[in-house]
Subunit: 68 residues, 2 copies
DNA sequence: TTAAAATATACCGATTTGGGATATTTTTTA
DNA sequence: TAAAAAATATCCCAAATCGGTATATTTTAA
């Protein structure tokens, strides 16, 4: 997912993101490297934090299906 | 998530959906009742199967953020 | 109102997760 | 450039979650 890019764009560290979202730094690292899979609620946290759609977060904007 | 509605719209049973997606009927039941949380890849399976965006699947179309 | 189909739940071993600690890498600064 | 600090990745392990089988419950249809 686009987590790393979004975070870098915002210019914050994994630690700050982790604190803001009430998570651990190592969890952020694992999501960014793809070592662990974010679940439903974690995806929503990220999308809300960066103000993007979940489809964008998951790099699925190539098949938009905007109406649904 | 909108899983149950999407499935009913399509007029198929949990069992058929499970078979099509190579999952178990009880897993579908659990996702529909919210007992279990679908991860990243499972969400993508559902979205692709019903041809909807993940944001729609997760009932987040009220804040669309279409460009991102 | 019974039988069949559909859905939900109990149980359990296996997998995955989060968190602390720490190692490694990158950046800063003296 | 070298040392210090910051940022990121990895190890370990207990706890939580998961998938699968079996079965119970509910809904549908004859």
């Amino acid at each position: 997912m686009r987590l790393r890019n979004l975070r870098k764009e915002k210019g914050i560290s994994q630690l700050k993101l982790a604190i803001d979202l009430n998570m651990n730094q190592n969890s952020i690292s694992r999501y960014e490297t793809g070592e662990r899979q974010a679940d439903y609620t974690t995806l929503i946290k990220f999308a809300d934090y960066f103000d993007v759609s979940i489809d964008y977060l998951l790099e699925r904007t190539d098949n938009p299906k905007i109406n649904r």
